[in-house]
Amino acid sequence: MTIAVVLLALLGSAWLLAVIEAWLTTGRLRPAAPLLAGLSHLGRESILPRKPDRLFFETAPVLLLVVAVLGAAVLPLAPGLIIADLATGALFVNAALAYVLVALIMAGWGPNGAYAMVGGWRFLGQLIAYAMLVVMPITAVAMRAESLLTSTIVTSQAGLWNIIYQPLGFVLFFIAAMALAFRAPFDLPTAPGELAGGVDAEYTGVRLAVLRLARLVLVITLAAATTVFYLGGWHGPLLPPWAWSLIKILTVAVAMLLAGHYLPRIREADLLGWCWKLGIPLALLNILIVGLMILVVP
């Protein structure tokens, strides 16, 4: 029952995000469009490029979807409304989402196409930039909650949300989450208009439908992680807990969309430079500040 509810919430949020994304780009609100597009992909040809690495080519979209779903499975939507409340939940989110890199390298390598391969390798550089900014802010969150249980992390924010307690960590995590979900302005591996679609380039038909679904679910998973770690999870007045979770998740996801809508794509060299020269010192400072606050404020 819980599993069905969580998965439905995940799919529903992904659908809503797709509708809003289309609304932003085309200016038309068409609620059925994502479903129709998905169905039409089923009827289209799914072409296999010549001399592919078949195993990598077939695995990539499935792996991306599986890791996004696994990441969402350890994040609570309401008290008790969580598929698996692991004792190492916050770490598990990391571990699952590390496979996004593997999936994208596979998607780049598999089709034996130049643009796809460039996109895949680029994401490897992108991982080296954002990875520390995902894990270091989560450490500061775990320090306050004294636990890696995602539900305990939420309850630790009952009095004061982490976005106020550690705003620096929130900003760093939000940016890193966008880079992890390869949303614009960090869409280096797909880079529409530059790499002819990059890792997406060779996928057609039903495989492309799965890949697109996986990307949407990945964004929702990361928005859910941001909600759980920084926005107080299900906490909020009047409305029931699950409603607050969904509102916050969608707000974060739409904020990611809007940020990408108005910012130009960043170069890989610049991304690496900014993340290592500014991001990591700030992330370490965030850990120090949170550490001192925990000791000084009882």
Binding site: V66, D85, E268, I294
Partner: protein, 120 residues
Amino acid sequence: MSATQQYVLLLGLALGTVGVVLCLYGLARSMGSTRGEPGKDVPASAGVLSRDPVWGRYHARYYGYALLFLAFDMEMAYMYPWAVVYKEIGLVALVDMGVFLAILFLGLLYGWSQGALRRQ
């Protein structure tokens, strides 16, 4: 639910997701197959096959960052257990990890001064 049961559940979820995708593939297959026509399977590269082999050697121009990344990633393995017991141990924990992080951070600064933080 015990930890083992939780992991079994997550494994089941992963397998279930794979199963759903395979069902979708089967559905698409049942609606018709791809016709093999010449030139259709050329990867997206302006209609011609790429001149150079795609699976060639790739110059990882960020290798300076990559080496530092290894050091920082190892450090993170120690940070998680430390973060959980931090409040309990208190000041000693802060000093312990502070020294460790300071050394690592000096390494970052040294690498920066030597030009490691640059796309080579």
